[in-house]
């Protein structure tokens, strides 16, 4: 382990002192400073928040993807041959590059998130990131269908019983409809509210209700329910955004081992470009999978879902967009959101193991090491 940490430390130092890292961090800090100076009269807190997090994603991804340039640079500069004369075997040298890329991505993600949170706390008191917990929608998830939608409510304090429901409008032939009137009923009371058809639907059911039925009062509008939650109290932005940053880092860090794996056989630029493409595809992986499932598996078009399936198999599960959407909606992901990053972690581990496997020509030499 001491050798692995020593090598990892070298990569961390080298990356942190690189010109690219200095430029990226300077731009990030300048952007934050600019956003702080804009004050409350500037763009909305949500817009600034998502812009800051988007830049953070770029920085964090850059650190993870940059892992793909280390081994080729070492080869070209002769460091690889020099390091090969030292005691640590080749797999430790490669694993250290993976580890450094991943550590940089996750730590910069968490620290950058905390920094965004600190700036937000100091300059934008209107920013309210609310905690949430999921609620169950056991039956039909179609608002405007034959049956009402049932939402089961967990127990909670009265002031934290606001429901938020994400909907996706389904196409209809009734022309453009932007608003929907929704009827809610519980065992004791009923009421209605109006909302955008693109959601989210927000309303506060009466105290003591265990379940709410929802139905559309606007003819021709059909909304698919894609998510439902109970909103909690506002959270401090510093730990909340540090948590979001950490999750972003964990997801983006998944490409560090891919980059290293690619860099064993290609140049640094090719490895970095390959890792970048995989990260892009990984951020829309769920969309790719659902698109593949919806396409007709007949004729020439049958190839497309298979290709999408292959890409979905190869790419890391990196729901970066989902996390950005969470922040835009001013929601604080709960601890359970770590589950979003678990597939990325598993992917990281698997690819890190693959990066350690010696190349066939070197098997004999490294086996003796």
């Amino acid at each position: 382990m001491a050798e692995l940490w020593a090598l990892t430390g070298r990569h961390l130092r080298t990356s942190a002192r690189s010109r690219a890292a200095r430029v990226a961090l300077t731009l990030f800090l300048l952007g934050l400073g600019l956003a702080a100076l804009m004050g409350r009269d500037g763009p909305s807190a949500s817009l600034l928040l998502v812009a800051a997090l988007f830049v953070l994603v770029l920085v964090v991804s850059g650190f993870a993807i940059g892992a793909g340039t280390v081994l080729p640079d070492d080869r070209v500069a002769g460091r690889e041959a020099w390091l090969a004369t030292l005691a640590p075997p080749g797999w430790k040298r490669r694993l250290s590059v993976v580890l450094a890329g991943w550590l940089l991505a996750t730590s910069v993600g968490a620290l950058g998130g905390a920094l965004v949170g600190t700036v937000a706390a100091l300059t934008r008191p209107d920013l309210a990131l609310r905690g949430w917990s999921p609620v169950t929608v056991p039956g039909a998830r179609l608002l405007g269908g034959a049956d009402p939608v049932v939402v089961l409510l967990p127990d909670g304090a009265a002031e934290h019983r606001e429901l938020e429901i994400d909907v996706r409008p389904l196409l209809s032939g009734e022309g453009r409809i932007d608003r929907v009137d929704v009827l809610w009923t519980t065992a004791e009371a009923s009421g209605s509210f109006a909302a955008s058809v693109r959601g989210p639907l927000r309303f506060r059911p009466p105290e003591g209700a265990q379940a709410v039925n929802l139905a559309s009062l606007t003819p021709g509008v059909r909304l698919r329910i894609v998510g439902a939650r109970r909103l909690g109290p506002a959270r401090s932005p510093v730990p909340t955004l540090a948590w979001i940053g950490l999750l972003l880092g964990l997801c983006a860090g998944a490409v560090a081992p891919v980059a290293v794996l690619l860099s064993r056989a290609t140049t640094g630029q090719t490895a970095a470009a390959g890792a970048f493409c995989l990260l892009l595809l990984g951020s829309v992986k769920e969309g790719m999978s659902s698109l593949a499932a919806r396409l007709e598996p007949t004729g020439f078009e049958a190839v497309v879902p298979r290709v999408l399936d292959v890409f979905a198999f190869l790419t890391p599960d990196a729901p970066l967009l989902d996390l950005l959407v969470e922040a835009t909606a001013q929601r604080a992901p709960p601890l359970g959101a770590l589950g979003m990053a678990l597939p990325a972690l598993a992917y990281t581990l698997l690819l890190a193991v693959l990066a350690c496997v010696p190349a066939p020509a070197r098997l004999a030499r490294e086996a003796s090491g």
Partner: protein
């Protein structure tokens, strides 16, 4: 400590094959220093890489510390000074030597710190230079640093590729003094050089390589007997002529 028999290394295959080393035998005992002399392209660097285990021989056999060259236990007991040493540009001098100490198994922070400072002191690297990044080092400073990095874990075998190339007379003197300290500790040294002073002061025996073969071998005093030239050129030339390979 190092033993090679019929060592052959060929790069490439078929028509493009280039034989860099053609049947070299060498023996290096504890506490001795063997010099590899010869012009560029004679196979010195390839022989060094075969000794370190970073290249595998095409034919013959090479062993270090009683086993195949390049295995982990052998690497941990070897220190290597490459010809070009300015390679960890982002690290400072002290960080570089500390990294090598950690990778070569020097445990304990206090022990490591002491060894690092000792090694840097021995190669004559000034305290302010130790805090500078390697990217700012001159070739001579980088060579001293590489020597400190190779020496810091007090290896049993030192392998040096042109150790005094790029060094001023003071640096050469300090490098040779360090090799003497290493020898008095019982360590063995394998070095390649073009420099007569380095060869005469450091080496007990030498192999004069000519196009991958051993042209001449033996104690350096014998090889240089009657040669008053300040360089190794007459020795190399006469060896090449004797082998019928001149020009």
């Amino acid at each position: 400590m190092v033993s090679a028999t019929g060592l052959v290394k060929t790069y490439g295959r078929g028509k493009d094959a280039v034989a860099a080393v053609r049947g070299i035998d060498l023996q290096l005992a504890t506490g001795s220093c063997l010099g590899l002399l010869g012009p560029n392209g004679s196979g010195k660097s390839t022989t060094i890489k075969l000794t370190l285990g970073t290249l595998r021989p095409t034919g013959g056999r090479i062993e270090t510390f009683g086993g195949p060259a390049g295995r982990r236990s052998a690497r941990a007991r070897t220190g290597y000074v490459p010809e070009e040493a300015r390679r960890f540009g982002a690290l400072t001098g002290r960080e570089t030597v500390d990294l090598f100490a950690r990778l070569q198994g020097v445990r304990g922070r206090a022990e490591r710190r002491q060894r690092v400072e000792e090694a840097l002191e021995l190669v004559g690297l000034r305290p302010e230079a130790r805090r500078q990044r390697l990217a700012t080092y001159s070739r001579g400073m980088a060579r001293r640093l590489a020597m400190a990095a190779a020496w810091v874990h007090q290896p049993d075998l030192l392998v040096l590729d042109e150790p005094t190339s790029g060094l001023d007379p003071l640096g050469t003197d300090e490098m040779l003094a360090l090799l003497d300290v290493h020898r008095r500790r019982g360590g063995a040294t394998l070095l390649s050089t073009h420099d007569r002073v380095t060869a005469e002061v450091a080496c007990d025996e030498a192999l004069v390589l000519v196009r991958g073969r051993v042209g001449a071998a033996g104690p350096l005093d014998t090889l240089l007997a009657g040669d008053d030239s300040p360089s190794l050129l007459p020795l190399m030339r006469s060896t090449a002529q004797a082998e019928g390979l001149d020009g």
